[in-house]
Symmetry: C2
Subunit: 579 residues, 2 copies
Amino acid sequence: MKLDNLIGERFKERPSECAIDSHALMIRGGYMKYVANGIFSSYTPLKRITRKIEQIIREEMDAIDGQEVMFPVVLPASLWQKSGRYSSVGSELVRFLDRNKSPHLLAMTHEEAAVSLVREYGQSYAKYPFMVYQIQTKFRDEPRPRGGLIRVREFTMKDAYSFHVSYEDLNEYFKRCYTAYERIFARAGIPETVAISADSGMMGGKVSYEFVILTPVGEDSIAVCQNAGCGYRANVEAAESIVENSRDAVSQPLELVATPGMGTIEELCGFLNIRPEKSCKAVMYQKNADDSYVLAFIRGDLDINETKLANHLKCDVHPAALGEDSGLFAGYTGPYGLDLADSGLTVLFDGSLKGENNMATGANKSGYHYTGLDISRDIGEVEYFDLAKITDGGICPQCKKASIKLSRGIEVGHIFQLGTKYTESMEMTYLDASGQPKYPVMGCYGIGVGRLAAAICEASHDEYGPIWPVSVAPWQVHICAVRSDEEQVKTAADKLYSELSDRGIEVIYDDRNTSAGVMFSDADLLGVPLRAVISPRNLKEGCVEITGRDKKLSVKEPTESCAQVIADIIADMQKVTHT
Amino acid sequence: MKLDNLIGERFKERPSECAIDSHALMIRGGYMKYVANGIFSSYTPLKRITRKIEQIIREEMDAIDGQEVMFPVVLPASLWQKSGRYSSVGSELVRFLDRNKSPHLLAMTHEEAAVSLVREYGQSYAKYPFMVYQIQTKFRDEPRPRGGLIRVREFTMKDAYSFHVSYEDLNEYFKRCYTAYERIFARAGIPETVAISADSGMMGGKVSYEFVILTPVGEDSIAVCQNAGCGYRANVEAAESIVENSRDAVSQPLELVATPGMGTIEELCGFLNIRPEKSCKAVMYQKNADDSYVLAFIRGDLDINETKLANHLKCDVHPAALGEDSGLFAGYTGPYGLDLADSGLTVLFDGSLKGENNMATGANKSGYHYTGLDISRDIGEVEYFDLAKITDGGICPQCKKASIKLSRGIEVGHIFQLGTKYTESMEMTYLDASGQPKYPVMGCYGIGVGRLAAAICEASHDEYGPIWPVSVAPWQVHICAVRSDEEQVKTAADKLYSELSDRGIEVIYDDRNTSAGVMFSDADLLGVPLRAVISPRNLKEGCVEITGRDKKLSVKEPTESCAQVIADIIADMQKVTHT
């Protein structure tokens, strides 16, 4: 098509609200437009990119025997009530009443809908394994949308659900899907994607991997072991926190100390002149389901990993708003002398406190702390859980060396072993070979299409624009007719446009009567892999200039043969991304 | 793919909830599954059909210079507040508050979003005309979903929006789009679609056409003029009602008559022994916006067309729930002696009452009517509007003959001339050649993808299943290996399957060890255009039996050449639907 007709505005200035390059370039290049917080419209270039990504995903899902289906965006609440997610998922789930006051929701994922779709088909073991997938719009009411298409509220996602008669079979299929994901990301032009252990979040499964592009602008924190022989990589949300405590030889007696105005760990430790490691911090939450309080104790230098906490509680939480009725004192809560009678309070201890003594902690009385706390002596036997965030320089859960480095990345895919969580709660069974009813084991597999487009842009751009891999580029060739007002230029450019189009090559054709500078900066913003420049100067030499958007190629070809040369270069580029 | 692996259940019994054949066949054939009222999931066969329909639509929209974009499903209320539709559209619009209590909605159409997307691009007259379209999931909270995919709450729709500098230009483009629609329906295998004048509904435009398949099971009422020379066709919602009244020579005096328990027109006319044409009926509504009452008077034998009423009021209405405060008496309301002071009541008269005398009507007093009403004498000058439904045998608005016949049809597409309704309300302007700001003129163009699939099935099926046109069929060839337990059969069928697949033909392959009866009834339900039967009997003759799903073709071909013969037949079939 002609660039002159392409709807969308391109401009030079980086919009101030864009924190990352892909967001800035996709706004500047006329790829998308802000509609509301975390909600965008796509112009044609982005639509063409996402359609190509979707087709790559579709082919690879079909290649591992997936069957494309379509689930509804709007689901009746009853489906999610059955699985328990209607109440366990927080305010990221949009709930509404329809005109008959019947509760509905905007589905963020479709485990329940998938179980419901295949339950009759999957009544006999002989039908297993099988997988269904869809590519569809989803809405998740994110608290903090950001980074353009990286974290949005409305997005297009490929979500797939597999069903198996055993964990062994799921493991086998999981490997096939893992490999299909590697092929998808390689074909989409980002072969350097790494897979990391991840938290399963509200999906509720056990084994799960994220596919991540490591980049400083990524919003995911990733714990990477620096020990060359180890290779441990995990999302910080999922990484086990290992803390080695050194108990003091002598336990001091418990002592009440007046600490007026020392409500934070920093203030307290400064006042008492102790290291934060010798303090026991109370972090307070409320369960989303019933607003009951959750009190998590952790060593003062560490932070609570809310994902681990929510997983442990099997319920989302939010930071507590302490009411008068709570019996808790912000800044002065501690495990000793805590009145738990009838409070409905959940109290948890992080493993970092295990075996500790001589700790400072709140005295459950405004303006007072205790020193000399020895949990086993003063509180008695308590159970410890892993609730802490892994730290930079922390201990690797795999090789046990203090070799953890925190990096950042963008999650572009996620695969989960769900087990029987959904088939049990929704009572889907099959009869095994001996006629016994069993719950199928499930896996689920997601890829965010728009986020993948943004991640490709993050991984492949320069200051002037995206450098799209040919497999996902909105067009394959960008013709610039410089000085199209000269008849010779216009004729040659028109001819090349039709020759390339006849060969089935996707061409964006700039025949505007504008400066070469404007043309080239627009071409940079559209990021099409090959550029063909026809200008009076080139024509004088009887040539067309062909350059790669990645600057690796720059050749002049005779006008007569250049259509064929371009077709050959495109074919070569496609070979690279298709293997 | 192998039929044995196809997820979804096929069965013989017609589900009792299915009123129309396409619904029954698509449930029986494993095309879709009920999720909630008006909400379905699609299995792979339907997904393959809709993807093909979408591709046909996409090609034809591209051919009239459309640019594919994507608007959000969830829109901020502010966009629709700007256009006024946030309050003017009734409860079919799903509204919800996001986590920050900000009002949002599920968009049913995207006029506002389209204006918002292109307003910067369209600042100069030189950029016009242009058109954007999308293919996307939509949700409309229909009061009465029915007919399977014919009237659902969640659906996939192609919606397109064109922008012009003049009505002349819109008219030109409208013709191109009209032709593109004809091509789409022809390519999808239903060339007999007819275009009819339609109501623009909440779109707010003036000229609009529906593309309709005439079928007795259709849910739209269509007025068709039987006068051969006329050709008038219109949706009943839009058809002008023309009524010729014959005023009696002598007006009787107004007389109060006790009519206890005669609250309906039938009862009243029976009691007074008059024809319904001599009664004046009151029909009461409330405006959705503020619940204020609307009182429409109409001749007793006619019905109010709620669409015309809503268009006249520029606001949706619902049948009134008469409160004590209304001052209205159900069954006894009439235009004479009606106390209108401070009531906020809107009173309207349908054209069918114009010039009438000697009418019976309610006396605004429970149990009493007046006879002898002469509106011009007793009420004075009132304005009459066209609010009545056109009737079977009624007068054609075009040729003025009493030749209207009411038929039924399924609307599969709708094109509207929106004019400047949205560009004015949303303040989108361009500068014309003389530098003056002007409002662009818009058109909009919809096709429901799922409804089109159902309509194709309605237009093309027999009692055993759908007969899909090759252009949209889920597969092109259905191989039945009868007695696949016999090695010779299995070998020949496997070979044909791979030969056809190698030729790029889409094959569903039934190699189950089941009876020919089960195989053939499943094949009928899947409705694939060509069937290749390999059986011991056929192989004895060295042949494969090739039959068309439409029963028009039945040949036996030697096994060696049959792959080529099938490929040739498919190519011929494709030629028919592609021209």
